[in-house]
Symmetry: C2
Subunit: 480 residues, 2 copies
C-alpha cells in the first residue's frame, strides 16, 4: 500500500537535489559563500531520493492509488521534503540551529513567510533566492493539492471542488491528470513572470523583482529586505503587489477555464467576485478610517496593500500598521483568519467556508423555527448535503480549536498574550506577521524560544494541510 | 400566536413588581436611601405587567404552545424583563446612566458578573442585594430554560437533553411541567441556603453570606466588595466558593434523579465526572506551576479558586492572577470558553459540546480514510445523527464567530487588543472578568466607552441564549 507514496517522494527529492545542484553552481559563480552547503544538501537529497526510487521502483506499475496512499503521500511531501530542503540553511554560513533552519523552511514551503532571519539586505543572494524558491514551490504545490488531492480526500468541504470529469471513484484516484498539472504549472510560471516584469518596471532591481514575484504569486511574503516592501516605499510597487497577491489568491481553475473557452469563468465562480468585493470594501473602509488621522496621506494605497497582504495570507508589510490604532489592530487580527479562495495559494479559512457557514447556519435557524420547511441549498452548482455541512463545520470548529490550543501552548512558553495569540493565528493561517513588538510587521520570529518555534512549525503545517490531512494520521484506526 | 408569551411576560413582570415592593419596604426600613427608586420601579413594572396580563388574559385558555411562541417568550423574558429590572439602578442615588444601569442588570441576569460599579463596600446594602437577587433569579431562569425550553427549541444540540417523559411533540410544548419547575426551584433554594450557611461558618457576615451564596450558586460572581473574594482572604471561604460554584455548574437533573431513587445519577451522567476530573486536573497542574514561583504559597487553594471560578463562568477573584505570568494569562483566557455542564447555571461552550466535537471530529476523520466503515455513535444514551452534529458544530462555529466579531467591534471603539478580545470572550461566555489592567480581575468595566458597553450587553445576551434563541428573531422567515 505504501509503495507509491514513497516512490513519489523519491522522485520529488531527486528533483530537489537537481535544484540544489543548480544553486551550488550559481552560488560558486556569483557569491562563493554557500556552494558547499548546497552541494552537501544536494548529495544527501539525491542519495535519499535515489534510494527511495530504487527501492520502490516496482510500485510504478501499480494501478491502484487509494485514499490511504493519498494521505500518506500528502504527509510525506509536507514533512520529509521540508526536512531535506532545510539542509542548505543548516549547512550555510549563517550558523542556524536545526530548529531555526526547519522553521524557516516550513514557513517558506507552507507560504507562511514568518522569518527567523535578520540582516536580509546583506545576506548571500543565493540563500535569499532559496527562500523565495521554497515559497514558489510550496505555492504551486498547494494549488495542485487543492485542485487534485484535497477533493479526492474530501478534506474540509473541498469535495465541493471535484473536477467535473469524473476521473476518480469514491476510494481510488485512477486518473493521472498530467495535462492538468502541466497547465497549472505553466499558468503559475506565466503569472510569476508577468509579476516580475511589473515589479521591474515599477523600479525593483532584476534580483528583487524575481524574488518578490515568486513570493507574491505564492502569497508567501518572504522579502529580500528586513523592511519588506517598506524598503521600496513606492506606490507603484505596492499596487503591483496588490494586483498579483490577489491573482495568487483567486481560484486557479477559473483561470484555466477562462483560457479554454469559458470567458465568464470568473463571473460564474462562487468565490471570486465576493472575494474581490470583500477586499474592495474593507480597503475602502480602512482608507476612510486612516485618512481621518494625523498621518493619513496616501491612505488607500497603504490600507489596500496591507488588507490584501493579510487576507491573501501573503504577509508583506509596507510599514507597521499597528501604529494606526487599536481599531486597525483588531481589523488586521480578524483579517488573518479570512484567507483567499479555495484552489489558490492562500491559506486560512477561505472564502467558501464562510459562505457555507452562512448557508448552513441560515438553514439551521430556519429549521429551528419551522421544522417542516423543505430546504434545498446548493453552492457553485453542487447540492449541499449534511455530509458537506459536517465536514465544513467540523473544520471550522477544529480550526479555532487549534488556534486556541496553539495560543495557550505558546503562552506557556512565556510569550505575552498578544504575541502568543497572534503568533498562533498567523502560523495556523499561513499569513506571516503577528501583532505586538516582537512578531509584528516590524519584527521577526528570531527571538522566540525554541519550543515556541516548534509549536509554530506544527501550526503552519496543520493549517496548510487543512487540519484533517494531517490529523488522520493520528487516528489509530488509520494504521489498521 | 403571540398571546401566550406576552401573558407569561405579564405575570413575570408582576412578580418583579412584587419583589421590588419588598425591596422598597426593606430599603425604607434599613438604609433609607433608595426606597423611592424601588417604589417607582415597582409601580412601573406592576402597571406594565398588569396591563399585559389584562390584555392577554384570554390566551390562558389556549392549549397550543408552538415553537415560535417559545422563541418569542425566550426573547421577551431576557430583554424586556431586564429593561424593567434596570429601573431600580436608574432611579437610585448612584446617578447611573441608562447604559450603565442596563449593563449592570443584563450582566446580573445573565449571571455574567461584570460590573460598572465601584465603591461596593459602601453602597446601599439594598442595591447590593438587588444585584445578587438579579443573578440568583437569572441563575434559576437559565436552569429552567436549559431543562425545559432549550431542548424543545432544539438549540445548539440541547435536544440531546430532552426529558425522557415524552411530554412534548416535535412542534408543540403541551405539558406544563409545574412539578418539575417546583422541584428545581426548591433544590436551588436549598443549595443556596446551604451555601450561605457554609459561608457564614467560614467567617462571613450574614449579609455577605446571603449575597455571595446567591451569586455563587448562580455562577454569577457579583460581590459586595470591590476586592471580590479577595476581601476575605480566607482559605475556608475560598473552598466554600469552590464547592458551591461547582455545585451550580453540575447538571441539575442529576440532582433531582439522585433524590428520586437513582443514587448513581451523577456517575451515569455523561458530563458530570469528566467535568469534575477536568477541574481537578487543571487545578492540580496550575498549582504545581504556581508553587514553583516566588510567591507560590497556598498554591492549590489560590489556583483552584480561580480555575473553578472561570470554568464555571462565575468570575469571583481572590487576587489578580495575571501577576502569575504569561502562562496563567493564556490558561485563564482559554478556560473562559469551557463552561460547566448543560442544564446548570453556567455559560460558555459547555462540557457536552466539547465531547460531541470530539465524537464528530473523530467519526469524520475515520470516514475520511475509510469511507465504508459503518459508525454508530451515541452520547448519554441518545443516538447521534447528522442533525445533532450540524446543530452543535454550527453553534461552535457561530460562537467563535460572535467572539471574533465582538472583539473586532470592541477594538473599533478604541479598546486595546487584550481588553477587546478578553472582553468579548468574557461577555459572550458570561464569565465576568477579562484580561489586562482595565477589565482584569482587579479592574472593572466602568471606564469603557458607552458603545463598548452596548456591544458587551449584546454579547452577554447572545451567549446566555446560546446564540440561536436570539438569532432566529433576525431571520426574516421567522416573521412570515
Amino acid at each position: 500500500m505504501l509503495s507509491r507514496p514513497f516512490l513519489a517522494l523519491g522522485f520529488l527529492l531527486c528533483g530537489l537535489s537537481f535544484v540544489e545542484l543548480i544553486f551550488t553552481a550559481a552560488d560558486a559563480t556569483i557569491s562563493d559563500e554557500n556552494w558547499q552547503g548546497f552541494l552537501l544538501a544536494a548529495v544527501i537529497s539525491g542519495l535519499f531520493g535515489g534510494g527511495l526510487v530504487g527501492a520502490f521502483w516496482n510500485a510504478a506499475s501499480e494501478k491502484r492509488f487509494d485514499l490511504r496512499s493519498g494521505f500518506i503521500l500528502t504527509a510525506l511531501c509536507w514533512t520529509v521534503f521540508p526536512l531535506m530542503a532545510a539542509l542548505p540553511f543548516l549547512f550555510s554560513n549563517l550558523g542556524m540551529s536545526f530548529t531555526d533552519a526547519l522553521f524557516e523552511t516550513i514557513s517558506g514551503i507552507t507560504t507562511t513567510g514568518s522569518t527567523v532571519l535578520t540582516g536580509l539586505d546583506h545576506l548571500d543572494p543565493m540563500l535569499l533566492l532559496w527562500r523565495s524558491v521554497l515559497q514558489w514551490i510550496g505555492g504551486v504545490g498547494i494549488i495542485l493539492m487543492a485542485i487534485i488531492m484535497m477533493p479526492f480526500l474530501r478534506i474540509g468541504g473541498m469535495q465541493l471542488f471535484q473536477l467535473e470529469s469524473s476521473t476518480r471513484s469514491e476510494t481510488s484516484l485512477h486518473a493521472r491528470p498530467i495535462a492538468l498539472i502541466n497547465s497549472i504549472a505553466a499558468l503559475y510560471l506565466v503569472l510569476t513572470l508577468l509579476c516580475a516584469g511589473a515589479y521591474a518596471m515599477a523600479g525593483m532591481s532584476a534580483f528583487d523583482a524575481i524574488n518578490h514575484a515568486m513570493t507574491t504569486l505564492s502569497t508567501g511574503g518572504y522579502s529580500t529586505h528586513d523592511a519588506s516592501l517598506g524598503h521600496f516605499d513606492s506606490a507603484a510597487i505596492s499596487w503591483t503587489a496588490v494586483l498579483f497577491m490577489t491573482a495568487g489568491a483567486l481560484p486557479f481553475m477559473a483561470y484555466l477555464k477562462s483560457f479554454s473557452g469559458e470567458p465568464r469563468a470568473f463571473l460564474q465562480d462562487p468565490q471570486a467576485l465576493p472575494f474581490l468585493g470583500f477586499l474592495a470594501v474593507i480597503s475602502a473602509a480602512g482608507a476612510v478610517m486612516l485618512a481621518g488621522m494625523d498621518d493619513g496621506g496616501d491612505a488607500l494605497t497603504r490600507v489596500a496593500l496591507h488588507v490584501v497582504s493579510i487576507v491573501t495570507t501573503t504577509g508583506f508589510a509596507g510599514e507597521d500598521y499597528q501604529l494606526w490604532g487599536a481599531g486597525f489592530i483588531g481589523l488586521f487580527f480578524a483579517l488573518t483568519f479570512i484567507g483567499g479562495c479555495a484552489g489558490s495559494t492562500s491559506g486560512a479559512i477561505k472564502v467558501y467556508r464562510f459562505q457555507l457557514l452562512g448557508i448552513y447556519a441560515g438553514a439551521h435557524l430556519r429549521r429551528l423555527h419551522s421544522p417542516s420547511i423543505v430546504q434545498a441549498n446548493a453552492y457553485g452548482g453542487v447540492k449541499l448535503d449534511s455530509e458537506i455541512g459536517l465536514s465544513v463545520l467540523a473544520f471550522l470548529a477544529l480550526f479555532v480549536g487549534a488556534f486556541s490550543v496553539g495560543g495557550f501552548a505558546l503562552s506557556l512558553t512565556g510569550l505575552d498574550f498578544v504575541t502568543a495569540m497572534s503568533a498562533s493565528a498567523t502560523a495556523l493561517c499561513n499569513v506571516g506577521p503577528g501583532l505586538g513588538e516582537i512578531i509584528g510587521p516590524a519584527g521577526n520570529f528570531s527571538s522566540l524560544p525554541d519550543m515556541a518555534k516548534w509549536i509554530l512549525t506544527g501550526l503552519m503545517l496543520l493549517g496548510r494541510l487543512e487540519l484533517f490531512a494531517l490529523l488522520v494520521l493520528f487516528d489509530p484506526y488509520f494504521w489498521r
